[in-house]
Symmetry: none
Subunit: 428 residues, 2 copies
């Protein structure tokens, strides 16, 4: 009975003993599931197995009996515990063939960095007989696409930075022939609001949801995403209309708390706006400790609008670098509305940037008092003609408080840029 269904089944196997330990989360399957879903394909099984050859072979033998499309990640490295090539070859009763061209590529990769290829990398030049090579520009392990009479085995490297581009650029196009459905998807990203507020706000939408439309809310401190996905037959206009109506309704209910409907991060959104509006930016950070500058500079091309960031951790640095009056720090404390103001204005003046952000607060775990608890953070934004400061009380650990601080700063910048754009648009 299982056999008859096996023609359409898709499964994923992750290989690596570390993935069975308490501290590792396997994430390749999530990425793959997303790509498959876009083609209307769904995983039926996900398996994690150790590096042991016998156990890998057992799992492959099971997969061979029950699934049509079998994705395997990991175990393609150069070391002795990388046994995926061998296991798949043995289970399919095929030989491993040495490819000089792969070895040459790996050697070149090492040479371009002035290194000599270690002998162990030679293992990576062996390919299962009959498999098509999937090139890996991000690493030394090539992937493989192997079609047998009834099945397809896809061998992928374990590191997500190598697997993702390989799936996107090489595997996905080859999977198009399996497409039967399409999935309509939308991600609505929200900052500056809590999960329950969002849930309350979009309550009217729940009654409108058709059966095949899935709505998921993913909430992390400082960032909320509403994910919509709808599995529909290809080219059904009516479904498209329903989907768009619901998406628009949600966006309308959440107003300007929505910062992206195209998957962009907050730093991408403000980066795009700054570029469009030809505005420059600087920042002065205390409690966020460089995370704000780091997020801003993660965006390619940020050097066009980001002039500088100062991580003024000590009081001396705040005084010397930003011209924050010593008296102000003494009287109000480094974590205060006034110091946040002075920091934002100080870095704006100094850098000559159009807009300047500042953060000062207590990221914890130590340093909190009753009057100024861990999580108290002031975020400032200096702009032409003024400075805007918001007081926040964030929950969470040190990392989460740092993240929420930068999220707030970027969101204030986003709202200010929208305002400036509107003023300009209305001729002011």
């Amino acid at each position: 009975m299982a056999k008859s269904k096996s023609t359409n089944r898709v499964e994923f196997i992750a290989i690596g003993s570390e993935l069975l330990s308490p501290s590792f989360i396997e994430t390749n399957s999530l990425f793959l599931a997303e790509k498959l879903e876009e083609l209307g394909l769904r995983l039926s099984f996900k398996t994690v197995v150790s590096d042991r050859l016998e156990e890998i072979k057992e799992v492959l033998t099971v997969a061979k009996k029950r699934s049509r499309l079998i994705f395997i990640s990991g175990g393609l490295g150069p070391t002795e515990d990388d046994r995926t090539r061998q296991a798949v070859a043995e289970v399919l009763n095929r030989k491993l063939i040495f490819h000089q061209s792969i070895l040459d590529n790996i050697k070149k990769r090492f040479e371009s960095r002035g290194l000599v290829m270690p002998a162990s990398n030679r293992r990576q030049a062996y390919v299962i007989d009959g498999a098509e090579i999937l090139e890996n520009p991000m690493g030394t392990a090539p992937g493989m696409w192997l079609e047998t009479k009834n099945q397809i085995f896809v061998l992928l490297p374990g590191p997500p930075s190598e697997l993702k581009p390989m799936v996107e650029n090489l595997v996905r196009p080859k999977l198009e022939k399996f497409r039967q459905h399409q999935v309509l998807r939308a991600i609505i990203k929200i900052a500056g609001a809590g999960e329950s507020w969002v849930e309350d706000q979009i309550r009217p939408v729940y009654r409108m949801l058709p059966e095949n439309l899935e709505l998921t809310i993913l909430a992390a401190p400082g960032d909320i995403q509403i994910r919509l996905s709808m599995l529909v037959k290809v080219s059904r206009k009516k479904d498209l209309l329903v989907f768009d109506r619901i998406k628009s309704k949600i966006i309308g209910l959440l107003g300007n708390k929505v910062y992206s409907t195209s998957g962009e991060s907050l730093e991408e959104v403000v980066g795009r706006k700054l570029t469009e509006m030809k505005k420059t930016l600087a920042c002065a950070e205390s409690c966020s400790g460089g995370l704000l500058a780091n997020r801003i500079t993660n965006i390619p091309g940020s050097s066009n609008y980001f002039l500088e960031g100062l991580v003024t951790y000590s009081n001396q640095a705040k005084i010397r670098e930003l011209g924050v009056p010593e008296k102000l720090i003494r009287e109000k404390g480094a974590v205060s509305q006034d110091v946040a103001e002075a920091m934002a204005e100080g870095v704006r003046r100094k850098s000559g940037a159009d807009l300047a952000l500042s953060t000062t607060g207590i990221a914890g775990p130590g340093g909190g008092t009753e009057a100024k608890p861990v999580g108290l953070v002031y975020v400032g934004l200096a702009f032409p003609g003024g400075v805007w400061v918001e007081k926040n009380l964030f929950k969470g650990n040190r990392d989460q408080i740092k993240f929420q601080t930068t999220q707030k700063a970027l969101d204030m910048l986003r709202l200010k840029l929208m305002e400036l754009e509107e003023e300009k648009g209305s001729g002011q």
Copy 2:
């Protein structure tokens, strides 16, 4: 051959279609793996399967053939897609028995909240014949502990808030009888070397490895970990000696490339050293864009040694903030040995810190030329009496180049601190 080993195998099965979607991460297995490890037990397989009865049964049939201890989570709820009870009963060829006492408990649970139990919850009062009931104070679904002739099946609720206390309070004590082993573990962390170099270096160790010692190399750009784990009989001193000898051998072969053997991150290691040696730190970043300051300030207490960081992204900021001569930038370029030197010295002078790091390079994806390609990064370290600059050519995307840059900077700082410590120790 697999059969003979099956007596000792442990596996975990998570049931739920949502766990196969792109947005859900299954975490129960991580908690369980941790608890099992405390008893010296290791997972051999982890499987995620949909809510479909036939597919659950297939996975259970495979598990029944290969493992002794089988943990199953999820699918014990009251709805029609909760099919774990039925699937296990059918695979083991046992009946489901109605228990009035369970139903009474569920009813009471609803009543205590002023609610009437929906009829669907009646499903939860059925128990597989022969199974012991595991009470669930956190929810309506009881768990089950079922011993057959050669195997144990443990059925657990899916929500982590229900599974965790059940495992901790009811399952763990019952597993004590399996404790025969303990796991010895070590993590050796390495910076400033590639995976193949590490592999080549430790090759002599492979020949010394006993069967029960597992060695795994985890490699990410800029960071490598060697993980050792060894399953040993409780209180066998000889095993402990073997384990320590191998660990020491590896550390010896890798020399000062090893930055931690206790799990610490590089920023923790340098933070601890700076604190112990009462040294202060500042940094000036160009291509790492704040990531270096961010990593340094991720460590609680970093405000005691970290004075300030400057993210001097524009040339103007390098000139104004750090006193880098304009002529130098014009003649050598912002990405050069000389500018890295001037940046490190500039921020050290300005901040009064004992040690100061600098980074300048091309993080990409744009901005590269033939002479100065993407990935070219100079990292500088100014210290009392000098400045040390290293030229690097990193591979990878923007994030990876930024990360490797900061890894290199922190590692240079680590090596310099070790050197200073030795000089002091030797009376210089």
